[in-house]
């Protein structure tokens, strides 16, 4: 696919995402889209390190939770404005990322060792957030004061009681902006030496080193960028739900959600996480509407489905759904199948 086709495709997609809520007036569907974009942000954060860098983390909740907690606690304890706290939340996520990355990469932990160390850190933070009651309020969680004044909806970053527009679309556009920033970061990465070196490290670390790449530094950069995006998802979560507790923040759910979307959508592709998130949540909704009606009240049904999809994708679609779309596109346009480049073709 040529660069022009790609840019055109992205413009159309962006226009769709910006205009969609104005066409969809059903609150439920906006809610659905919001959740999808949220998962896409988590996924893109994970994808930078896992998909482009080949470092599979099982503990991305670490960065999500840190962002969410800092966002909540600085408001709750110190009464700061949410617009000020969000920078600290993201910086906090990056700091934790740099710390974990420094330890793992300095000591050359790769593959399953890296996955396990991230999982262990997420669990450690889970336990700490439960036990350091004086700082985190422990298992009770942190509930932020609700703002009921529509005029202060913007300054308090609480859109649920805002004016008509904010109430309906405020958080949708918040997460869309975060997603666009995440995508801009990925786009930038793909067009710079840093991105090329990160992919080289994924493909073959020894060869990368032999060719002058400081693999440690490149991976450290990737984990920091990845953590920043994931922490931003945490900021969104805190503002949207005005509540965070140890399980939500550091439990395994967010870590798993973060890696499902990109793996199913297409590892190391720009579009993968969004496609994966759309597919997964579409499937989840579909299951609720159909199987769920007949076979009532089975929480976890969607998780079973996700698991099945994951297995199918791993077995049959090494390049994920994006790879499938790419193949279909080539068939339709009659182009010969070409190599996967350092970047996604989609």
């Amino acid at each position: 696919m040529s660069e022009q086709t790609r840019i055109a495709g992205w413009t159309v997609l962006l226009a769709l995402l910006v205009l969609a809520p104005l066409a969809i007036t059903s609150g439920r569907w906006i809610e659905f889209m919001e959740l999808t974009l949220f998962v896409a942000v988590l996924g893109q954060g994970w994808n930078i390190l896992g998909g482009f860098g080949g470092q599979y983390s099982f503990g991305h909740a670490l960065f999500f939770g840190t962002g969410a907690y800092i966002q909540a606690l600085l408001q709750f304890k110190l009464g700061w404005s949410p617009w000020a706290t969000l920078w600290f939340a993201i910086a906090g996520g990056v700091l934790v990322g740099a710390f974990v990355g420094y330890l793992s990469f300095r000591y050359g932990l790769r593959g399953s060792y890296f996955a396990l160390i991230t999982l262990a850190f997420a669990e450690a933070f889970h336990v700490l957030s439960r036990s350091l009651v004086a700082v985190t309020e422990g298992g009770r969680g942190v509930a932020l004061d609700l703002n009921l004044d529509p005029d202060r909806a913007l300054t308090t970053f609480q859109f649920n009681f805002g004016g008509d527009f904010l109430k309906a679309y405020g958080f949708y556009y918040t997460i869309l902006v975060i997603l666009m920033l995440a995508y801009a970061a990925t786009w930038w990465m793909e067009h710079t030496r840093f991105g090329a070196q990160l992919v080289a490290v994924r493909e073959n670390e020894d060869a990368a080193e032999a060719l002058g790449i400081d693999a440690f530094r490149v991976k450290l950069g990737a984990i920091c960028l990845s953590a920043a995006i994931t922490a931003a998802a945490g900021v969104y979560y805190t503002q949207k739900f005005l509540f965070i507790d140890p399980g939500i923040a550091y439990g395994p759910t967010k870590s798993v959600e973060a890696l499902f979307a990109p793996i199913i959508g297409g590892l190391g592709t720009v579009l993968g996480p969004l496609v994966g998130a759309l597919f997964l949540h579409g499937l989840g909704e579909f299951a609720k509407e159909t199987i769920g009606l007949v076979w009532e009240d089975r929480p976890g049904l969607d998780l079973i489905l996700f698991g099945v999809v994951l297995i199918l994708v791993l077995a049959f679609l090494p390049r994920g759904l994006v790879g499938l779309l790419d193949l279909a596109w080539r068939r339709l346009s009659g182009a010969a199948p070409a190599a996967r480049k350092g970047k996604a073709d989609a």
Binding site: E209, A210, I213
Partner: protein
């Protein structure tokens, strides 16, 4: 240009490189030969920073590079290729070479352009858009060379880039290596293909059981009894001399 002094590398009980001493003068092609398992690849790895030597010193243009990381060594102008090729399998040939080019070139487009120039020099222009995984053995060996060359080295360490190639391919790559030297890059190579060693090298070192047992021009080395014994086994040298004398001898 490259000086190796008293370098030793031990793997547990095995002394893979034993007190090696060698010099690669600027602008030369120097070769390192020796039977399988002699320690040649290990010596390269220790020079290029992939293994920490247990003893000894490596200097590049007068600078001590002992124990530096491989990427540091590469940035100082010494780059190695791998005997077992290590392509970035999912990337195209162009992007593979561009990774090397990024050592000295920041911009993506400039690095890709430089990759195309290097590919053209090595006769790989046709393959630019192929994924590295789709290349033949000869193609992969050449890609190793191209990537290394793209980093803009002053000294190139080539580990058996001719292994597995047919006669025409070997001729090709010998020409390529000569061209690289003419462009001002010093070359230190490990090779089993003797005809290539003889025709390319200004100087040859022979490694056996980790130790350098002979050195000199390729001709001198090839007639060194110690070298013949190392390759063919104990007593081989005498046997050959005896037979040669009995048959009237090549020099007689």
């Amino acid at each position: 240009m490259l000086e190796v002094r008293n370098l030793s590398k031990r793997f547990g009980g095995l002394l893979a490189v034993d007190d090696a001493e060698l010099t690669v003068p600027e602008g030369a092609i120097v070769s390192l030969i020796g039977p399988n398992g002699a320690g040649k690849t290990t010596l390269f790895a220790a020079i290029a920073g992939f293994l920490k030597p247990d003893a000894g010193r490596v200097t590049l243009s007068g600078e001590d590079i002992t124990g530096l990381t491989p990427h540091d060594v590469c940035r100082r102008g010494l780059v190695r290729t791998f005997q077992v090729v290590q392509p970035f399998a999912n990337l195209t040939v162009r992007d593979n070479i561009a990774v090397g080019a990024h050592t000295r070139i920041r911009g993506r487009a400039d690095a890709r352009r430089h990759a195309e120039t290097i590919a053209a020099e090595l006769g790989m222009s046709e393959m630019l858009d192929q994924p590295a995984a789709a290349l033949t053995v000869a193609g992969r060996k050449r890609l190793e060379l191209a990537r290394a060359l793209a980093t803009g080295p002053t000294l190139l360490l080539l580990d058996e880039v001719m292994a597995g190639l047919n006669a025409t391919e070997i001729e090709d790559i010998v020409r390529v290596i000569r061209g690289i030297r003419e462009a001002g890059v010093t070359i230190f190579l490990i090779e089993h293909v003797m005809q290539a060693v003889m025709s390319l090298s200004d100087r040859t070192y022979v490694l056996n059981n980790g130790a350098i047992i002979s050195q000199g021009t390729p001709g001198e080395v090839a007639s060194d009894p110690q070298v013949i014994e190392a390759y063919l086994g104990h007593g081989a040298s005498q046997a050959i001399t005896r037979e040669a004398t009995a048959a009237g001898g090549p020099d007689a």
